[in-house]
Symmetry: C2
Subunit: 280 residues, 2 copies
């Protein structure tokens, strides 16, 4: 199958890598707003050719939009304007507004709204990684608005990426993503800011980071241009969970102020239950 | 050298593993308040024999206290009461109070206060891991209060564990540890509590965790009995940094409430500078 990938960063580049290696794509056309990204992806062999947007849309059987959420909101209707039999999917982290934006588009049935739950804190085609999606979950949103054959094609693609497909409404996706993914990023960004503010000596940060900080702060390396729009577009859900998070921190603060060992042990033991949810 | 290890959990067990394998210890005597831990450590071959506290103190040349901070505060003076030429070190995460507690002990010179900055979120002898300390930093506190030969012995032990030795006052250690290690744990515990509260469906947590949550919440699996005393004993420093952390989160909250893209991008880009400190 001829696959066109718009956006050749971490996600688009990693999709390209596995779809080619595993025999799903016979040819991969690539497009990126950044000439540097496009040329790097070609040089790295992630794609077979750099195409204009129109060439890519005309020549591909499956078109993957692998660009940030706000860019997807703008570009998706324009891509759908131009397709006939082509299948289109996106991979953005916000889903409710994207589904709403094209709900009444005449070619809505050619589109599947998806969100593969995988990534690293790195970005760009340099960050593309074989096997990035293996064993993880991908979410199909408002699947009832997509054509059955179109759904099957996209499902097939994710099978080649070795992902489990879950079905959810766009609305529910955004609620759960805020609870689990988005708040983790805010927690990590704020932690980095705190430590950079308090600990002026970078050598100390480096030396002491192995005490747990390195894992907690990993996400703070994530791309600003990608994440700022996610927080804004999912603001209501993110604010709800952020408020609960700040409340939890205030409970820790009160317990520590009172040197209340029992209360601290109670809260930490409760937090330990996350082990079970993560099945570790 | 005959090494006695009091506390056969993650840290004590991992020290035992490498000191024996790398030829530093000719014999390892072990003691643990938990009979199950002691017998497991013996069965796993982490130690050569289970000893009473007195046997261990009498027969060891180097005694390592690998127990939580509050237990170290209680036990260390009693161990020092009984030593003559034996070298003693601890590995607890709080240092200022430990150094203060034995500052005027007649055998203070036989003791080195250390904190190897390594660990995992797991605990007990089952969690002991070869190579746990490789390439990480260990901190010697108030080293001027230790005898020169005693310091050399403990330094040698850490060389066999493949650690870099840094020198700091106990006071400074606690400030930096709060900024970097302790706040990470609180951030992670509070995140786990928030998600467990908001997301009642554990399957969703599992499915969506690969979106970054899994790394940020890793530390939330850490042991309550170990961490509650750390927060209490280092309360002043922890509260200072916790306040700054809550302030940072409130800044994110305000920016999201205002849908202020520029402000969010500014804060995230600033947080990204943590990359440099972590040299990645």
């Amino acid at each position: 199958m001829k696959v066109g990938i718009i956006g050749l960063g971490l996600i688009g580049g990693s999709i390209a890598t596995d779809l080619r290696k595993r025999g799903f794509a016979s040819k991969i056309l690539g497009h990126d707003a950044s000439k540097l990204h496009a040329e790097t992806a070609l040089k790295f062999g992630l794609i077979d050719s750099v195409s204009t947007m129109d060439e890519l849309i005309n020549e591909s059987e499956l078109i993957v939009l692998a660009i940030p959420g706000d860019a997807t909101l703008k570009l998706l209707p324009k891509v759908l304007d131009k397709v006939s039999s082509q299948v289109v999917c996106d991979v953005a982290s916000i889903k409710s507004q994207i589904c709403d934006r094209v709900k009444y588009h005449q070619n809505r049935k050619q589109f599947v709204a998806t969100h593969p739950m995988a990534g690293t804190e790195h970005s760009g085609p340099w960050a593309a990684k074989a096997g990035l999606f293996d064993g993880k979950a991908t979410i199909f949103c408002d699947a009832e608005d997509s054509d059955e054959n179109v759904l099957q094609t996209v499902h097939k693609m994710y099978e080649f990426l070795n992902m489990r497909v879950l079905y959810m409404s766009g609305f529910n996706h955004d609620v759960h993503a805020a609870y689990i993914s988005h708040i983790s990023h805010i927690s990590s960004f704020a932690l980095a800011l705190t430590v950079l503010e308090k600990e002026k000596n970078e050598k100390n940060i480096f030396d002491l980071a192995s005490g747990g900080f390195d894992s907690t702060v990993r996400l703070a390396k994530s791309d600003a241009e990608m994440w700022a729009p996610i927080f804004n577009h999912n603001a209501d859900n993110v604010l709800t969970v952020l408020n609960t998070y700040i409340e939890s921190l205030n409970k820790f603060k009160t317990a520590i102020e009172k040197r209340d060992r029992d209360d601290l042990i109670g809260m930490i033991s409760k937090a330990n239950r996350i082990k079970r949810a993560l099945r570790e």
